[in-house]
């Protein structure tokens, strides 16, 4: 069965606290952090972008899975902050991890679920024997307009998953998707920052799509919430996944371990995949994971995943999600503005 034969994550070193951002805009920091469920977020360094984050995550995945990079037949990078509008990030990733030149490669975009769309594509290519191993990456350096609600959560990070059949650390038992035309969040060509429909991003967008994706997967697999040990939902903030879990009757303790959003914010295309990586870091073999990624615009990809024995032998090879969360240096809003190119006069 198709599965994850290696995975890796990367989170930039810098963090800014919600309270630090709130102070700039005259908001009540502690109240805001608690309400959002985001206490600090990751900030990319001035020399980091989606290509560098993707490469670091991919190198970790190859080491974790002990994979020969020349076995990779496809490289797909999902993001909404690709460094080039025209020139695939995947070309840079493939060259820097030692792939052969006989590969297929493309960039994916579906707001926060572009990475899981890449996972599904790789599953199809592997299952149809077109390729041996596919590399699917979800990575972002998310943009939030200064003063906008998004500024408190828009973070940076990425996860890379190698999809193949030989000795998987976890098998992907089933996947389904749910897609509609729902304009809850978008960015037009040439715009620096995205726009959103404020409260509209909740009920008709996130909750409808994640809920529908989850129910569809439960129906297709003829399973119930009780059959799974861990749940991962896309994390635009700390509040939405918990509310989603409540709606679906998921016990909070089955969701708790995936909530990386509290310490690093919303890493957009990386968010659900990094939550899954956190679970793979700690889950015992035979554990079952239920994941639903959400992308604005809007759609959801749901996955039923079973952890395999192989995972035990691959642990300790590369930094875990928690290792990256622990490695941090706080920056002030001024340094954050400098790093994120919000100081216009500096060019």
């Amino acid at each position: 069965m198709v599965g994850i034969v290696g995975y890796g994550v990367y989170v930039p070193r810098y963090r800014i606290k919600t309270e630090e951002i709130a102070a700039v805009w005259g908001e009540d920091g502690p109240k805001l952090a608690k309400g959002l469920g985001v206490f600090e977020k990751s900030v990319p360094g001035p020399d980091e972008d989606v290509a560098t984050i993707s490469v670091e995550a991919a190198r970790n995945a190859i080491k974790q899975g002990d994979i020969d990079p020349t076995d990779i037949g496809a490289v797909y990078v999902g993001s909404e902050s690709h460094p080039y509008a025209v020139k695939p990030t995947g070309t840079i990733v493939a060259e820097s991890i030692g792939c052969t030149h006989d590969i297929t490669c493309a960039d994916f975009e579906f707001a926060c679920k572009a990475g899981t769309a890449a996972v599904q594509t790789c599953m199809g290519l592997v299952d149809s024997k077109m390729i041996k191993i596919g590399l699917a990456i979800g990575s972002d350096t998310a943009q939030g307009r200064p003063g906008d609600a998004l500024e408190y959560s828009a973070a940076a990070g990425g996860a890379a998953f190698l999809i193949g059949k030989k000795k998987p650390v976890a098998t992907i038992e089933e996947t389904v998707s749910f897609t509609t035309d729902t304009p809850d969040f978008w960015r037009r060509e040439g715009e620096d920052f995205p726009s959103h429909g404020a409260r509209f991003t909740g009920e008709p967008a996130y909750f409808r799509h994640v809920g529908a994706g989850a129910k569809s997967l439960l129906k297709k697999t003829k399973t119930t919430v009780e059959d799974y040990d861990y749940f991962v939902f896309h994390m635009p903030n700390g509040k939405f996944p918990i509310a989603m879990g409540r709606q679906l009757g998921v016990p909070p303790e089955k969701l708790e371990d995936s909530l990386i959003v509290r310490q690093i914010g919303n890493t957009y295309s990386g968010s659900a995949m990094m939550g899954l990586a956190r679970i793979l870091d700690i889950a015992d073999p035979d554990s079952k994971i239920f994941m639903v990624a959400y992308g604005s615009g809007a759609g959801s990809d749901a996955f039923s995943i079973k952890v395999e024995e192989e995972i035990e032998s691959r642990r300790g090879e590369v930094p875990t999600m928690d290792d990256y969360i622990a490695r941090k240096t706080y920056v002030s809003y001024a340094v954050y503005a400098k790093y994120r190119r919000k100081i216009v006069a500096l060019g």
């Binding site: 360094g45 972008d49 820097s96 875990t320 290792d323």
Partner: protein, 142 residues
């Protein structure tokens, strides 16, 4: 608009993305950037491509506080000579550490970063920089 110098960058991509140099099998010396001929063994030299592991230690370093325009956003930053475990020395930026914490002899590993870019419309150059070795859960690191 045409941008000059793209070919020069493209020729170096393999070397600067993965620290790929070469080694002389006759005198067991490692070279980075790759040499067309071994300067010691000359015609007796046998050169083979070599991908460096990317691990090494800081040989010497300087903190840059007055930087060219492209690097102003990063000041203060550290430029070091890193001695790779195989023997070659490379000049590179040290990232993911405060300048005052950098020490000679410190163990570092290669990471992938943006080096420079030709304005907002030009090509972006990526390559190696170095960072302190990262603690990995379950590993006993030196």
């Amino acid at each position: 608009m045409a941008q000059h110098g793209v070919a020069q960058i493209w020729r170096r991509i393999r070397a600067i993305y993965n620290i790929e140099g070469n080694t002389c099998k006759t005198c067991d010396t490692y070279y980075f950037p790759p040499r067309p001929v071994c300067p010691t063994c000359r015609r007796k030299g046998v050169l083979e491509d070599h991908k460096f592991k990317g691990l090494g230690k800081i040989h010497t370093f300087a903190v840059v506080r007055q930087a060219p325009d492209d690097f102003k956003r990063q000041i203060p930053y550290v430029i070091a000579q890193v001695e790779l475990d195989e023997g070659a020395r490379v000049t590179a930026q040290i990232v993911n550490i405060d300048p005052e914490e950098v020490e000679i002899g410190m163990r570092v590993r290669a990471c992938f970063r943006k080096i420079t870019q030709a304005g907002t419309a030009g090509v972006i150059v990526y390559g190696y920089k170095f960072e302190p070795v990262l603690k990995v859960t379950g590993h006993s690191y030196p």
